[in-house]
């Protein structure tokens, strides 16, 4: 079993959304039965940064949810910049049935709407 760790790509223009989401989709589907972890920037999951980055982060969350319903094993991890997420990535590399979830390792979600 080899887990894929896919980091949210940095994009600056709405035109780049197509390529970024298609690239992620292809990589996640290519994993087949092996697990994937999509690592997102908390700021973008909270939609507090650039609109294009929020659109991408939420698009990736949508991919995680949709593919989980098709029996892929994948989860998303939202982390603040600079936070060491290795422990959680390691945990999600062997998710033991957990799929389609967003795990938030951030200080932004408390007191705000869940995604």
């Amino acid at each position: 079993m080899s887990a894929l760790v896919l980091h949210q790509p940095a994009i600056e223009d709405f035109e780049e959304l197509e390529d970024a989401l298609l690239g992620a989709f292809r990589a996640l589907v290519a994993q087949g039965e092996d697990p994937s972890i999509v690592v997102l920037r908390s700021e973008d999951v909270a939609a507090q940064g650039e609109p294009v980055a929020a659109a991408l982060a939420h698009g990736l969350i949508g991919l995680v949810r949709a593919l989980a319903l098709e029996q892929f094993t994948l989860n998303a991890l939202a982390v603040d910049d600079g936070v060491d997420a290795d422990h959680w990535i390691e945990r999600l590399a062997d998710p033991q049935g957990l799929t389609g979830q967003l795990v938030r390792l951030d200080s932004r979600s408390v007191g705000r709407l869940a995604v």
Partner: protein, 230 residues
């Protein structure tokens, strides 16, 4: 209302209901669609129409010019779907849905930003943003649209309110084309016990466009008969 209200995808089942409701509420409409039916609807509602492809630069120019310098509301309703299981979904179909359902509304809202001062944007997302089988492209686009809605709401406040509606199972030509037994099963999963009407969605859009929602921004209103919590 002095400014224009732009409704994209206005010739479709949902778009035409939204247009009719906003016209009844006194909006001065600009109906946008690729399909010729938009001219007929514009005649019926005595408003302006714009045949434009909003995925192109030229189409965005057309809409911006027709909308003028003051836009009261933008309803980003245009959308398509190209469903298939992930392993069968082509790159072309994936791209097409992201382009129409996510990139185009983002670019149109941005293009109209200066005209929208004091105005409202309502993005038509979907309950499917929470996940749907065989719709990875559509789910990604409609979920992305929610992220965009929230980010623009923060970025453009207090000048522009930005919200989204997320319709569930709605009685449109698309659902009418489903086999009867499939539709029956889907309706059975809706706590409200019925399929939604385009007018249900139009009422939600109209409310978010109105002064009654003047303190509402960055929110997603699910119009799905409770399916999002069932």
């Amino acid at each position: 209302m002095n400014g224009s209200t732009v409704v994209t995808g206005a010739a479709g089942g949902l778009g035409s209901a939204i247009a009719r409701r906003l016209a009844a509420d006194g909006h001065r409409l600009l109906l946008v669609d690729l399909a010729g039916g938009v001219d007929e609807l514009a005649r019926e509602l005595d408003c302006a129409a714009c045949r434009a492809d909003i995925t192109s630069e030229a189409g965005l120019d057309q809409v911006a010019t027709a909308a003028g310098s003051e836009v009261t509301a933008l309803v980003n309703n245009a959308g398509i779907n190209r469903d298939a299981r992930a392993t069968k979904l082509s790159a072309d179909d994936f791209r097409a849905v992201i382009r129409v359902d996510l990139v185009a509304p983002a670019r149109l809202a941005t293009r109209l930003r200066s005209a929208l001062s004091g105005g409202v944007v309502v993005n038509v997302s979907s309950r499917a943003a929470l996940g749907n089988f065989g719709q990875a492209n559509y789910v990604a686009a409609k979920s992305g649209l929610i992220g965009l809605t929230r980010a623009l709401a923060l970025r453009w406040a207090p000048a522009v309110r930005v919200n989204a509606v997320a319709p569930g199972l709605i009685d449109t030509p698309m659902t009418a084309a489903m086999p009867g037994d499939v539709l029956e099963k889907l309706v059975a999963r809706v706590p409200a016990g019925r399929i939604g009407s385009p007018e249900d969605v139009a009422a939600a859009v109209a409310r978010l466009c109105s002064a009654d929602a003047g303190y509402v921004t960055g929110q997603v209103l699910f119009v799905c008969g409770g399916r999002s919590i069932a």
